[in-house]
Symmetry: C2
Subunit: 558 residues, 2 copies
Amino acid sequence: MVGTDQRIRPFLWRAERLYPDVEIVSRTDDAVHRYDYGTYGNRVARLANALAAADIGPGDRVASLCWNHHRHFETYFGVPCMGAQLHTINPNLPKSHVEYIVGDAEDDLLFVDPHERETLEALADSEAFESVQQYVVMGDEVPETSLDPVVDYESFLADHEPSYDWPDVDEDQPAGMCYTSGTTGKPKGVEYTQQMIWSYTMSTLTPQMLGITDADVVMPLVPMFHSTGWGFSWAATAAGAKQVYPGPSPDSADLTRLIEEEGVTLTAGVPTIWIDLLEYLETHDADISSLEQIVAGGAPVPESLIRRLDEEHGVEVLHAWGMTELTAIGTVAHLPPDIAAADAETRYTKRQKQGRIVPGLEFQVVGEDGDEVPWDDATVGELYVRGPSVTTEYYRCPEANAEDLTADPGGDRGGEGGEWLATGDLVTVDAEGYVTLVDRDNDIINSGGEWISSVELENAMMGHDTVSEATVVGVPHDRYQERPLGFVVTAEGATIDPDVLREELRERIRADYPKWWTPDEIRFVDEIPRTATGKFDKITLRDAYRDHDVETNLEPEE
Amino acid sequence: MVGTDQRIRPFLWRAERLYPDVEIVSRTDDAVHRYDYGTYGNRVARLANALAAADIGPGDRVASLCWNHHRHFETYFGVPCMGAQLHTINPNLPKSHVEYIVGDAEDDLLFVDPHERETLEALADSEAFESVQQYVVMGDEVPETSLDPVVDYESFLADHEPSYDWPDVDEDQPAGMCYTSGTTGKPKGVEYTQQMIWSYTMSTLTPQMLGITDADVVMPLVPMFHSTGWGFSWAATAAGAKQVYPGPSPDSADLTRLIEEEGVTLTAGVPTIWIDLLEYLETHDADISSLEQIVAGGAPVPESLIRRLDEEHGVEVLHAWGMTELTAIGTVAHLPPDIAAADAETRYTKRQKQGRIVPGLEFQVVGEDGDEVPWDDATVGELYVRGPSVTTEYYRCPEANAEDLTADPGGDRGGEGGEWLATGDLVTVDAEGYVTLVDRDNDIINSGGEWISSVELENAMMGHDTVSEATVVGVPHDRYQERPLGFVVTAEGATIDPDVLREELRERIRADYPKWWTPDEIRFVDEIPRTATGKFDKITLRDAYRDHDVETNLEPEE
């Protein structure tokens, strides 16, 4: 190390000093809150003082169960810049996961949105929560709650100075943390050092990823608990861009209004959001002409969506692929000049792929023979990635290191780990280096960008007396990309009415998991196909039901 | 460190794999050489094999005395990617400096352009060159030379394989090196680690610095021995941009032809080049409409130049400031949206300033009282910078560390060094954070972007029997921004004819220094003003001669 350590704080400093008057807008339940980077910087400093007063220091973990709003954004700089670690938790997770995650991370303080407090109330007395010293409810008053000790965010900040003697944090200091779903229920923790976030933020600024400038109005719409909200908050700040936070549960009307009134130029989210938005715009007059680019990812983006946003609204969809382990985005489907100048079919074909690797990262796609596959758009292999913003180590999880990290892509795994992350995604690569996702680990279902563990659902169902075997696979769905479809073999001699059993199985699942984990349809079969090694053959099942229409009973906002 | 090490090689890999057909063009003495990133990658691998065969390994230093062409570009990746360190040397330096530099760096192998070999021939037998094991002349034949052992570059590569088993180099491994002028003659070495170059390259890609994309045609025109040619070669490769190398001593006609024929969109260089180019275009028909941006720096850029390039040719001048210690660029005069939309006067006023800090770096401007100056566009202070691509240590030079690096900007220096680089530049900052250079260390003269040490000239002149005192200051010059003006007090009783003495002084200087170091004018005075501490008062002298017209006898191409 001969240069200065790579730290997050210079990004904040740059926005505070060069763009003190640029706005940060945040939608609340009933209004729009706005201030500027100058005020933001003062509040971040007050937050750091408040954390220090609450005995949070370098290396301590501060967790959040929050959606996208200005207070959550304040923790994005306030927590890591004072040397602590921001651990963002997905409020959509099953309670058992939140319990495991808080216990594993030993979080010291928890920020929580008022309407997400019920999850914590149910868990606060558990052993896993012993480390938690303080709850801070995001808002200016404490709602009725059993959480204790508890304070509202504004009171937490109120008496503190708007400046802070920021430390020169070491670049290896963990600054962020996020857990990712495992296939068998135990979430795996990914830590982001100051350096990883610095690297990722610089990468996000490059035109090869997003090319954010101070002329942009950025709406960080990807939930900030999902892979750091794809890093939008940090990069937009580094660029001095105006930011628009969509607040709690924005619907298409909210998003349209924010785009129109605030002049949003760039945003990002899972395909479901854009499918809904297109539908909304069909029946509502709105001017979203300020919107230049949408980054879509988290689940494969249908070509029709890319085409319609382009042709009907002049919006360029940047299809991207990433993972929690990569901090966030690793590939983006930008078009080089020759393809950008080609006919529409060629362009849409490329845009629909997951994209090309961003500068600074490397990938390999390794076939079953252990060799890199040819870039022929046809040969399938597993995608391996490495780079400065890609983790080389799961938190306290040597078995995940052994399984998912290796020094030898395509070689035997299960060893000491290594720099190369095995993504579990099966892909092809075309001649221009565009990666296409063709399949992935069959134990995980991606419902509208959120992950469901089929193994956990199977365990829940097989716990029922009259069930002998159960499995769940993901089948394609127009709105949610994928929904779980259950298969059950009843125990010999069982006489239970199928509809009663279906309802009982659903109840078992709902007791432990969010409603959206519940299979919309449960089918009774004589046997479940097995692979040569005796495991459920989910590939065969998924293929057989590829065109099966699952009627989901989820409300759009869930 | 939880992410992978930051290394240069992924940038090369990305260009080789994603942009194998994109061209690299290189002007030679009488033609244009072209190949693509695919071939380039193969040649870089052959170079690495050739270096390994020549016993160059990790940590060894490989030096170059070369201009901008494809072979020099091959060393930019070939040397550091195999783990060695590329030490770029300025062929314009006084021979005594080259001698000192090669000896200090203990270079193992030297690449040299054919027409620069004379410098090395004169020094090869010196003790300082003991470490040098091999000379490689850039070309396909060895010219008549006393260098030994010597081989031409093409023969050096000829028998080697076009693939290399690249090591995973540690991010702290020195990858580059460049010496910068000291005020008192002893150049100071700056090492660039893999990490510093990675950081700088990512920074260069951001729109806040240059925003290079694969749609750009980049002409790396800044000499590649000057602060890594401002890093253009690495960033253009990371972006997959077409590159156009201007070759040896390009004149305005060469540059115009390259821009026109290759469709150059982005280039960079010192103001002198653009002053010449404008003059050339006045009398020559040429279509340089492909050119979108010129980065101008290395010396202050006159507003008239910015205005004329914009109004007459539609070219945006990005004024930039940097230093060898920063890898290269630290500020760029981009315009935020409100200023970009303002009237021409406002825009040119901002564009003429040295610019705003790029993301990832920090600066402070500290006044005489040791406090940060207000950003009022008026209060002058010294500029301090730090960041991941800014050195925190001079090579084997604790006295320079103590003098130029500190943990406490504005505090006492001379201690242990620290992260903050004292640039020696005196600047103001305006309300929007634009830095303006108002003065700098008075012992250094910037002639067309190249540095002249006035102290060395003074020592040379004072060695003459009939000279009692001598000093040299830089005075403003239209073409070269600054030229040295000499002042001499003759010894009591000396009767030498002034013109004879002038000529003898010039001869003394030319014996040890390049012709362009020679003061164009030497004035005889009764006494040289002194400061309170008894040093030559160069500020007073410079002020008195601010409007003095120096007739330079330099040829344009020198």
